[in-house]
Symmetry: C2
Subunit: 279 residues, 2 copies
């Protein structure tokens, strides 16, 4: 079965739009600050897809376009003064700015992209304020959309970043999955994967996962996004080689990546709801 990210996104969008209408009746328009620094073509496509989705859902966007020369203090000052419901910083940033200490100037209740240490702490402890990283939550939303419960399931996650692998491991554990977090130093990756009911690959290298990792009946989420030798977008997994073998797999593109902006929107509307509830 093809696990279709666009269908998941449509379902999330419809839920989010309903809440958007309710807020509109209360006179509240959810808003998102989009902060970018310098010119970055890689950002461009993602930024445009966010803006398009905001228009569709009825989220007001404010774009903060900063010069490449922005200093760390200026950046912190900017982030600290953002008053929109949510705030997303387009990455990659220039290397002189790319520091968690700078991100920490985003208020946790505005951190709709789930990148601050406060949000990660919230994911890890289940306490405090924050949002889960959008890509990690996209995996959860996709499994939920297809009615795939996690309790008692064995999951292998390959890739241990703070953006996907680590928080997703905790989120799946909370749903009673038994999670093995794999990485570049893991031995017997094939065996570990083969024993798993669900495989999540978040490595970012074309065709990284050996075909021996897969068996009948598995659910495979390919979170990797990279480009093959022909410049074509592709995931960590040789889709064509295993699609008929496993029980379900996400394509790249059109899989997890197609869900992230919808999750981001749901967070912005959630942030606006909380603002209303606070009074």
């Amino acid at each position: 079965m093809l696990l279709d990210g666009k269908a998941v996104a449509a379902s999330i969008d419809s839920r989010t739009a309903q809440w958007g209408s309710i807020l509109k009746e209360l006179g509240v328009v959810p808003s998102l600050a989009i902060v970018s620094v310098g010119d970055n073509d890689k950002n461009g496509a993602y930024e445009r897809s966010i803006i398009k989705k905001c228009e569709k859902i009825g989220v007001r966007t404010l774009r903060y376009k900063c010069p490449e020369s922005l200093s760390g203090d200026q950046f912190k000052n900017l982030l600290g003064n953002i008053r929109e419901d949510g705030c997303i910083v387009m990455r990659p940033l220039p290397s002189h700015l790319d520091k968690p200490e700078i991100y920490s100037c985003i208020r946790p209740d505005q951190d709709v992209d789930g990148i601050t240490d406060a949000s990660l702490a919230w994911v890890f402890t289940g306490r405090g304020v924050g949002f889960p990283p959008c890509t990690a939550q996209s995996c959860m939303e996709l499994l939920s959309y297809y009615g795939m419960g996690l309790s008692g399931k064995r999951v292998s996650i390959i890739g241990r970043s703070l953006v996907v692998g680590k928080p997703l491991a905790v989120m799946m554990d909370r749903e009673n999955a038994t999670v093995t977090l794999c990485h570049s130093k893991t031995n017997n990756l094939e065996q570990i994967c083969k024993e798993s009911d669900i495989i999540v690959s978040a490595v970012g290298k074309p065709g990284f996962l050996p075909l021996d990792c897969f068996r009948d009946g598995q659910i495979v989420l390919d979170v990797g996004i990279s480009y093959d030798n022909n410049g074509k977008i592709c995931g960590d997994i040789d889709f064509a080689a295993i699609e008929n073998r496993v029980a379900g797999i996400t394509p790249v593109p059109g899989g997890i990546g197609a869900v992230t902006t919808s999750v981001l929107m749901s967070h912005v509307v959630e942030a606006a709801k909380k603002r209303v509830m606070k009074g």
Copy 2:
């Protein structure tokens, strides 16, 4: 091989005492606030062992003994005013006080027991300020003492508390182990454990782990502490049944539990060092 917690503790103590002497020459005496609420016999033994260890290492102790009737606000106020290098709250607390929100009034740089959300966030993200929970770190110290590297090793941790299992999973991952976090909803626990090089059990039920979990060559850390039908202290694992089968195992008592106060002392001295360095 018997993995002897007392030997590990002695090694940590000797390191800590050396730092204690250096600080003494600088006119600094590390200090620990021990906060207890109400009468609690279970706490008593642990509290006494901490005080004894403090005397041995040269750490000044201040005991804050509060009445059972202490309110949450009074407790927060007390915690916020502690000026010792480190602060440990004896648990269990009366249920009206046992809240992470209250613990959060311990400053992260004083949180030598590693129980605040800030410390857990520090463990999870590797950023910020804090200390690892003492029991989790005791496991790491024991493996390090016996020269057991973690890179590329498969580890099963049974029990996913925020005090032991979850932070230990992250700490072992950071040393390049491949960690599977198991719990009450895990299927095929025996198989998962059998494939592991290292098993850490942190459940707290006498003889919880089935004997089928074990095979030749494994390292087994028994973090569970409970009491059998005869009131005798015991771990999660039937020690006598497997001690000659596996490559190394910690006894209960005399294993991981024998290391924790030494780790606590090392944290107190570390906190004092940081105070000195701050000027």
